[in-house]
Amino acid sequence: MASDDMSGAQAPVVSVRDLVKHYPIERGIIFRKRVGTVHAVDGVTFDLMPGQTLAIVGESGCGKSTVGRLLVGLEQPTSGSVTVAGTDLSTLNARELLATRRDLQIILQDPYTSLDPRMTVGAIIGEPFEIHPEAIPAGKDAKGAVRDLMARVGLNPEFINRYPHQFSGGQRQRIGIARALALNPHVIIADEPVSALDVSIQAQVMNLLMDLRDELGLSYVFISHDLAVVRQIADTIAVMYLGQIVEYGDAEQIYEHPQHPYTAALLSAVPVADPVVQRSRTRIPLSGDLPSPADPPSGCRFRTRCFQAQAKCAEVMPELVASGDKHVVACHFPLEAVTSV
């Protein structure tokens, strides 16, 4: 990987600073009153470099999908900023925002529910052109552009008039990818893009995503719970726990030498598809369930499940501090020992 990843020598395509998303919990029918807050995302900061893939990993409920939705504007942040190509999205008016959003597209997890069953594939992929007719390549009509997109993602352009149910899961995910590519974005947010697919199809779609990244110079925010899949594509990793990033940095460093106890536990829980290797691995136990994001623990949010939590962890929230040149970790007692997967 390039050496200037996190040094700031290059300008990031997307910059996220202290992003916060809180959802109110309300009670009552006529007199609604706020009784609590779900801390879905609580101060997330990262940079996405051009041509790079940043993976956000974590268990369900850690806020990773909310970050993706905030990036593309499907949700409004409570506070914090998202900067795309140097422009802070919160400073834009509606028209400017529409133009900037072209640059950021999203691929969703479930290819069965994210495509309108009553629209033809051509209409689904071509829908972005209705809002942004200027994105249709010169000398082409919308239909021609859709055919090109279909060919690009490995779908037969002759199927342009078919409906989603006539396609398999893997092909539907390709339709979703084609739709995301229509406006020629620089950044794609992929939210669990292969989790719903069979293994043999998963590899095909992962390879397509890697090819598109290399051919079109795309940058990805790759949101996934599958650490084995993430390892194949990510340059940088952000590990999230209860709305916060607990470890962030160069992917290889994190896989080879995780320093946050949560990252280490997460990695140790993933079974390796090799019985001999698998038997030699030891799992770091995590006690209990994920605490509720409506009532996160004091101090370090992970302390209730951490195998090495001490008194300090309940009192002081650990900040993200540098550990090596490409790696930050939020833990009072980061792992020193070299633990490899």
Partner: protein, 330 residues
């Protein structure tokens, strides 16, 4: 020689649908012994869940039929067994855990009563002793403060805890055979590891034969002793887990193993299996995998289907080139 705990022999299952006959299982064969864990591995539509339903006797008689083949439990034939008798076997002798614990549990009955029901219905326990036993088994599967949570409803538990309750219900009666259909697919990896360890631990205690149905090669590697690889309703390969991972003898197994991303290495582009799984309404002639197989020759494209041949000790593969593939190594 005593018969194996469970024997599935040349099982065929088909469904009649509006569009024609779907041959979901075509000649499934395997033995399960006491205390053994066997993994049935396959992609969607490979027939792995239908095989489980046939063993449990829960196929929908309106549409499904078993035209041939046999399933014997301790020597007793289950195919064609009257529903009344099959029902007696379910729960006490053969039990099943489903992927989606939330939809498998009754939302309006508290979980404690659902666990206790097992003891009352199948073991004839009194209300009081059933409750006592339910609390005991709930504690045993790792539900904290089981006595306090007895009266809670399914929605008040997390996904992992709900799966533990399902396991509590299923192991309540110490079945001889436990079928787990994708038991951890919907769960986070950390919880998945806990649940798999729990299943293994309970198995060691009770000597239950475990059939694990999954598409996850990582889970298989961590818990199974033997594997049956299915494709398009057929057994492609079966053998001991170490032998099969080290030296697969079927191009489909090789393709699967190559296409999974590994946690311990960055490979980048993965060697994917080209094409799509076959449509079960219209399966190709010959070997069902030939359309996607890089090794396929003319013999593969025409009937008959290649038979399972032995390539190593207890290691069989259904491929005309099995020995060659096996000799060639991975």
């Amino acid at each position: 020689m005593t018969p194996p705990l469970l024997r599935v022999d040349d099982l065929h299952v088909q469904f009649s649908t509006r569009d024609g006959i779907v041959r979901a299982v075509n000649g499934m064969t395997f033995d399960l012994n006491e205390g053994e864990t066997i993994a049935i591995l396959g992609e969607s539509g490979s027939g792995k869940s239908v095989t489980a339903q046939a063993i449990m006797g829960i196929l929908d008689p309106e549409v499904a039929s078993i035209p041939s083949g046999s399933i014997t439990f301790r020597g007793e034939e289950l195919v064609g067994l009257p529903e009344r008798k099959h029902r007696k076997l379910r729960g006490t002798d053969i039990a099943m855990i489903f992927q989606d614990a939330l939809s498998a549990l009754n939302p309006v009955i508290c979980v404690g009563d659902q666990v206790a029901e097992m003891f009352r219905v199948h073991a004839g326990a009194s209300r009081k002793s059933a409750k006592q036993q339910a609390i005991e088994v709930m504690g045993h599967v790792g539900i904290p403060a089981a006595a306090q949570r007895y009266g809670d409803y399914p929605h008040q538990f997390s996904g992992g805890m709900r799966q533990r309750i399902m396991i509590a219900m299923m192991i309540a009666l110490k079945p001889a055979v436990l079928i787990a259909d994708e038991p951890t697919t919907a769960l986070d990896v950390t919880v998945q590891a806990q649940i798999m360890e729990l299943l293994k631990e309970l198995q060691r205690e009770t000597g239950t034969g475990l059939i694990l149905i999954t598409h996850d090669l990582g889970v298989v590697a961590s818990v199974a002793e033997r594997i049956v690889v299915m494709y398009s309703g057929r057994v492609m390969e079966q053998g001991d887990v170490d032998a099969m991972y080290a030296r697969p003898a079927n191009p489909y197994t090789i393709g699967l193993l190559d296409s999974i991303p590994r946690l311990d290495a960055r490979i980048g582009r993965l060697p994917a299996i080209p094409g799509l799984p076959p449509n079960l309404l219209n399966t190709p002639s010959g070997c069902p995998f030939h359309v996607r197989c890089t090794r396929a020759e003319d013999t593969c494209r025409v009937d008959p289907v290649p038979p399972l041949v032995e390539v190593g000790p207890a290691h069989k593969s259904a491929c005309w080139f099995a020995e060659e593939v096996y000799a060639h190594g991975k």
